[in-house]
Amino acid sequence: MTTAPVATATATERLEVRADSDVVRVRQLVRAVAQKARLSLVDQTKLVTAASELARNTLVYGGGGDVEVELVTDGRRSGVRAVFSDEGPGIADLDLALTDGWTSGSGLGLGLSGSRRLVEQFSIDTAPGAGTRVEIATWSR
């Protein structure tokens, strides 16, 4: 893992996630920003898929929340950073939640753990009753 580049952000876009159709809008926004950041097609697809997973988690498990997407640059490379936050119940056992195949719902149990593998930077901030905040970023090569 490389050290996180010092990033400066330009124009943050914010979307609310309250319904299934909002997940689609998050996906479209992330794809548009990823194209602007000149990510490769594979990285774009990975990032969009991770955003889709996390936005759906925000909706289904967090009871809705919002997503901030921004184009970032460290002077040399450009990238996309997305922050998913909700004020839901939070995650009590983070290790368990990040285990492949474990789910508290009815999905495949790969959304959170898989998203971590799809992006370059992944950090999660959560506590029971305090909501969940997931930050991801992918940089151009």
């Binding site: 996906r27 990975k46 898929t49 997973e53 492949d100 999905g107 799809l118």
Partner: protein, 277 residues
């Protein structure tokens, strides 16, 4: 100001009909030029005007009153028709609000003065009612279209004797997957097919939800004795699926629809159904 009896208001409208109607028609025709003809507008306004007078004679004071049932029906029909024809909300509401121009024309007649304010107020309410029905008509159209789109976007095509394919395009949500699954299973039975190909070339991103939907569809098809192939897995999708950790298990996947068809033809030749061919 003492309340003016509805009967008096009706009489005012009848007495001054030519003045009011002429100004109303002018104002509405001016706004809707090119959208509808003067003749049509005049017929429409005659219906509304008559219903309004009838409603007032029957003692109606509020738009929601029973006396105005007929008037509300006419307005709802007019608004719904305009929504279908693609009129803007403004163009729809203006047809009713233009009647105020007609009433302003009465400002100089002493016998009409008393009824002017209540009549204007009534027209305001009628205008709002028009707007409301317009909005609900539009909503009805939107949900109708959403349903049509759901049907349209999921064609199941027969590629060969015993082989059907579903080319999926766009976002796969639960509602659409349900439709796809039903259509695929029905088509399998109708055409007596044993091979199904689900092509995901047009699906922009395969996340766990989409994968789960696909897996369920394949399992359902298998339960009916059909073999399913998922085709159209592009390089970036393949890498994403691997990173995400989704396992397609023993489900056959192919890069292109053509590959999947060749495979299905080969399979079909081996199976009893294809022996006769």
């Amino acid at each position: 100001m003492p309340a003016v009896a509805p009967e008096t208001l009706a009489q005012t409208l009848v007495d001054h009909a030519p003045t009011v109607r002429a100004a109303w028609l002018d104002a509405a025709a001016d706004e809707l030029r090119g959208r509808t003809t003067r003749g049509e507008l005049e017929r429409e306004q005659t219906d509304i005007y008559d219903a309004l007078v009838d409603g007032l004679r029957a003692g109606g004071t509020e738009v929601s009153a029973e006396a105005f049932d007929q008037l509300r029906g006419i307005l709802a029909d007019v608004s719904a028709a305009r929504a279908r024809l693609g009129f803007t909300p403004r163009e729809t509401a203006v047809g009713m609000f233009a009647l105020k121009e007609g009433l302003y024309a009465l400002a100089g007649s002493p016998d009409a003065m008393a009824g002017l304010v209540p009549l204007l107020r009534l027209v305001d309410d009628l205008g709002l009612f028009t707007f409301e029905t317009f909005a609900s008509a539009r909503e009805a159209i939107i949900s109708e279209q959403a349903e049509q789109l759901l049907e349209l976007s999921t064609p199941v095509v027969k590629l060969w004797e015993g082989i059907v394919a579903v080319p999926l395009v766009g976002t796969l949500d639960s509602a659409r997957t349900q439709v796809v699954m039903e259509k695929l299973l029905n088509t399998l039975v109708e055409t007596g097919s044993t091979q199904a190909i689900i092509d995901i070339t047009g699906v922009p991103a395969v996340d766990t939800q989409v994968a789960q939907h696909l897996l369920k569809t394949v399992v359902a098809a298998r339960l009916m004795g059909a073999e399913c192939t998922i085709s159209g897995i592009r390089p970036q999708i393949a890498q994403t699926i691997v990173a995400l950790g989704i396992e397609f298990g023993d489900i056959r996947t192919r890069a292109t629809l053509a590959d999947a068809l060749v495979d299905a033809l080969r399979e079909g030749r081996r199976s009893p159904a294809g022996v006769t061919a």
